[in-house]
Amino acid sequence: MTSLFTEISPEPEHGVATRRVTITVNGERKAAEIEPRLLLAHLLRQGLGLTGTHTGCDTTNCGACTVLFDGVPLKSCTMLAVQADGHEVTTIEGLATASELSPVQEGFKQEHGLQCGFCTPGMMMTATALLAENPDPTEDEVRWALSGNLCRCTGYQNIVKAVLWAAAKQRGEAVETDDGSVP
């Protein structure tokens, strides 16, 4: 561990300024002593061990790092962790309750909306935010909302189906739950 993101590290080297921040992550308050240059994505991954948020590029394009910031989706690689002081961050680890997956999570499995799984957390966070704001999106609205999240494996068609499945479930409609064992 280095002085970059933990309170019990060795004394930071002379001249390196750190800042104490308190961030609510998935409902839990976390305090950390960090350098301003630490990216939020790295605080989540390395500092807090929440490795479900992924980093996939260095130009703010791929969206694999998407989290909810006060409920709003953004790319956590393009925010300094210090900026999250006093705010609420939700990551993929915060989508499910203790007993239940979220409809978005269920939908991705049901509709084969993932293959390698690397873009999936970002996709699901964006989808979660979309459905909170628009519970009955059209296919175009889903594609538009996801256009900041890149996927290399699926070709997006099943991701769209997964989100529409989740939307239907959230609206209380009947959804297909065949797990493949129905002849």
Binding site: A17, L39, T55, L74, T78, M79, V82, G148
Partner: protein, 291 residues
């Protein structure tokens, strides 16, 4: 991927923020949306000594039409707010047209219009629209507030005429006198791509006559191009096929594109021409229908 070290302050009142910038003597940068600045920090294209985070400053997130009919966009008004705004659709269709085309939906939740103007990227979409609409920026520094016309705001690629101690607090789109119409066309190969070329066209008409016009170009020069000769050629009469063609020619002439992997300079110039024609034709047809 990993920025170099910098100092960071998050003031909660604007005077403190201005004071920090003044102390920084040009080595301090304002952090608002961060969607252009943080990527530059990560690639180490920028290494300021100090970041002054203005996200905690009150009273800067507005998007409103004020008594005189002008639209005021605060420094912390996000692209997404503009994309969603019904006010904009009604009052300034040119701005409504560009909002969804800026970057991608995630960047739009955080990035700001004012920040985009201050970043002064020649590929910036908002700068073209604000230029076409003859807007201005309100800056606040140690000497108080001042107004800078958008046409005097950018001094080169990624350079503005803001003084080191100044924060751009607001962008203002003047109230239209005639009926406003306009649009923005952007040639991008995919969402989030920089424009191969982009064109903003804004006109105001009184009766059948164009009383004011603005045309500005994205991505076809060292900075946003104000195609003023093209715009001026439209005023004083109705939109005609010949007039549209002439304006498009002048706009293409005003462009100073570079050839690169997105396309040749010739092609980009052609796109400018084509987009000007298409936008003006669309406006003319809409007017005909309304009449």
């Amino acid at each position: 991927m990993y920025p170099s070290r910098f100092g960071y302050e998050a003031p909660t009142d604007i005077d403190t923020a201005i004071g920090l910038l003044a102390e920084g003597q040009g080595e301090a940068k304002v952090l608002a949306g961060g969607q252009s600045l943080v990527p530059m920090l990560k690639l180490r294209f920028a290494s300021p000594d100090l970041l002054v985070d203005i996200n905690g400053l009150p009273g800067l997130d507005h998007l409103r039409v004020v008594a005189d009919g002008s639209i005021r966009i605060g420094a912390l008004c996000r692209h997404a707010d503009l994309e969603r705004s019904e006010v904009l659709v009604a009052k300034q269709p040119t701005m409504a047209a560009v909002a969804p085309l800026v970057a991608d939906p995630l960047v739009r939740t955080r990035g700001t219009l004012v920040g985009s103007l201050c970043h002064a990227d020649p590929q910036g979409d908002w700068a073209s629209v604000v230029t076409a609409l003859d807007g201005h920026v309100v800056a606040q520094g140690v000497d108080g507030r001042r107004t800078i016309s958008i046409k005097d705001f950018v001094s080169g690629p990624f350079q503005t005429t803001l003084r080191p101690d100044e924060i751009a607090v607001e962008a203002v789109i003047p109230a239209p006198v005639g009926a406003p119409a306009g649009g923005y066309l952007k040639l991008e190969r995919r969402v989030g791509d920089f424009a191969t070329a982009g064109v903003a066209v804004a006109v105001e008409t009184t009766g059948a006559n164009v009383t004011k016009a603005g045309i500005a170009l994205t991505g076809v020069g060292g900075s946003t191009i104000d195609a003023s000769a093209a715009a001026e050629s439209l005023t004083g009469g109705p939109l005609t096929a010949a007039g549209i063609e002439r304006a498009a020619d002048l706009a293409a002439e005003a462009a100073r594109p570079f050839s690169d992997h997105r396309g040749s300079a010739e092609y980009k110039r052609h796109i400018v021409h084509t987009f000007v024609v298409r936008l003006l034709r669309r406006i003319a047809e809409a007017e005909e229908k309304a009449a």
